[in-house]
Symmetry: C2
Subunit: 343 residues, 2 copies
Amino acid sequence: MRWAAILAGGSGTRFWPLSTSARPKHLLPLAGPRSTAEEAVARLEGLIPKERILVVTGAALAPMLQRQLGLSAENVLVEPRAASTAPALVWASAEAARRDPEADVLSLHADWCVVEPDAFRHAADAALSVGRTSRRLVTVGIVPTRPETGYGYVVPGEVLQGEARTVGRFVEKPDASTARDLIAKGALWNSGLFAWPADLLLQEVSEKTPELAPALPALRAGRVDEFFRRVTPISIDVGVLERSARVAVVPGRFSWDDVGTWDALMRVRQRDPQGNVTSGPVHLEDTRNCVVWSDQDPIVVSGVQDLVIVHANHRVLVMTRDRAADLKTVLEKLPPDVREPKP
Amino acid sequence: MRWAAILAGGSGTRFWPLSTSARPKHLLPLAGPRSTAEEAVARLEGLIPKERILVVTGAALAPMLQRQLGLSAENVLVEPRAASTAPALVWASAEAARRDPEADVLSLHADWCVVEPDAFRHAADAALSVGRTSRRLVTVGIVPTRPETGYGYVVPGEVLQGEARTVGRFVEKPDASTARDLIAKGALWNSGLFAWPADLLLQEVSEKTPELAPALPALRAGRVDEFFRRVTPISIDVGVLERSARVAVVPGRFSWDDVGTWDALMRVRQRDPQGNVTSGPVHLEDTRNCVVWSDQDPIVVSGVQDLVIVHANHRVLVMTRDRAADLKTVLEKLPPDVREPKP
């Protein structure tokens, strides 16, 4: 049967001061009235039932996630430590296989905003089917719309079945001219939306991933703490997919955004006629292309542009939009008592 | 004896959201650790004792003013309505004359920031002396440092005694080229720091100020409410000084600033090496020439310049410095419940 593994960790710094370590961005209603974690579950409706959705997260977030997503406690997998994506997905796949030896696992992230849920489901369905019938680890490759340098690319190889292809190679974050060349050759963005038969992932890891393989017996014996203690943190892309000969790619024709910064709200939320994104008690005059967000006191803004202005958790943030990606370095310079917001 | 009349009304909009109708700018520690009202009283030390300092204000501010300035209740004159400067100063002068028929009155404003208190006292002393010996209404004219178009100018006439001159004419807010011509001819800024024998002011008003003269008998009879009800609001400059033949000017060699906007703090407060004025828990990175003020939550700022950023009384304000003078029009567009801060 089909299972989902949703990665839902997170440190809570990207949407400071609104996001906190106790409530990082994927638990906040940033892109719309529901959190992206809620959207991730809703998006699977008709494809994978809730009782087969596993969420991997840290201890701090588990209670809120379970409550917000309406999952049973046994479906929330609490990592003893964050160790990148491979250990998390190997654990989730092993857990799915334990409950269902025929499990196919769709792996996704809790912090995605996807505007076209039908196209998403179509691609996920294709990936799961191709994984099962071709017995491969399948990645969904997004059809690019621009020569983005911040993403990884997948170059498709031979035709497998329908739109599915083998993977020629993976290219991590190319420069702009390489990105243009890749797109001209039909390369796709590596989305992070994967599907595989659970037993195949475990088999590939045991053969190709020395960072994890020695710890697999502990995992199979149910000793999760020992598994996480023994693994070397590594991503699923680097640790497994890029090393495996049994990979495939299916195209995805949907826009997908991990809403990684305050500025990203400009892409995923409705903007007013002056190009502003606002939430809460916000009053703007002659203000253009700003993100203004208050979960707290009214904010009055006059005559500015291209700023991010936030009041939440007893902190005020004002920065230029182009600095939103560097918010973490701003926070690192703050005194700890200022950095830690007070919900 | 010498008396002071300090004008201390105010609507509280200029330093929104920090200033409120219950605590306008002259009661706030804006220019330094003490409010400008406290500074005004301190500046008179050695010149006029506290028991002869009268403050004219509105009912909302009277208790806080009395407490902050340490005045006796009988020295706080509460206007039944705001009616510009002439009625207020006529009342204060009449009150001084009632208690002391030989009263000389120095009139000043509670919202001034003066960097050189000795030069201020010297000019005030000269104005009081000249008023008494020449029996004139005396204005202190500030020696200009720039062709400011926002001030009124006094063109000195004939020499009276020492540095004192008669007044040739008053010029209200000239254009820049006129301002340059005026300065070349020795014109001074009309400061609003005045001195007169109390009985002379009342005499001049009864002869030259039909807006107030018919109400003077009520004032003399102690019926202050009736006086204010009957007067037509008018400024002391327009209603009396510009009409009187018995005026004089003495020069003042101090800088004086009414700190009328958030931006004015740039002139009167210490700036950091990047040109910022800050107060409260404020954390700046790559930020230049900003006013950042918090009486409440920490404010974190990154990458901006020439902004005013304030958090106070449960409101956040972000505006460009060049809009600080128009804050009132911004506030007029706000819903009343947002405009009225919550201390």
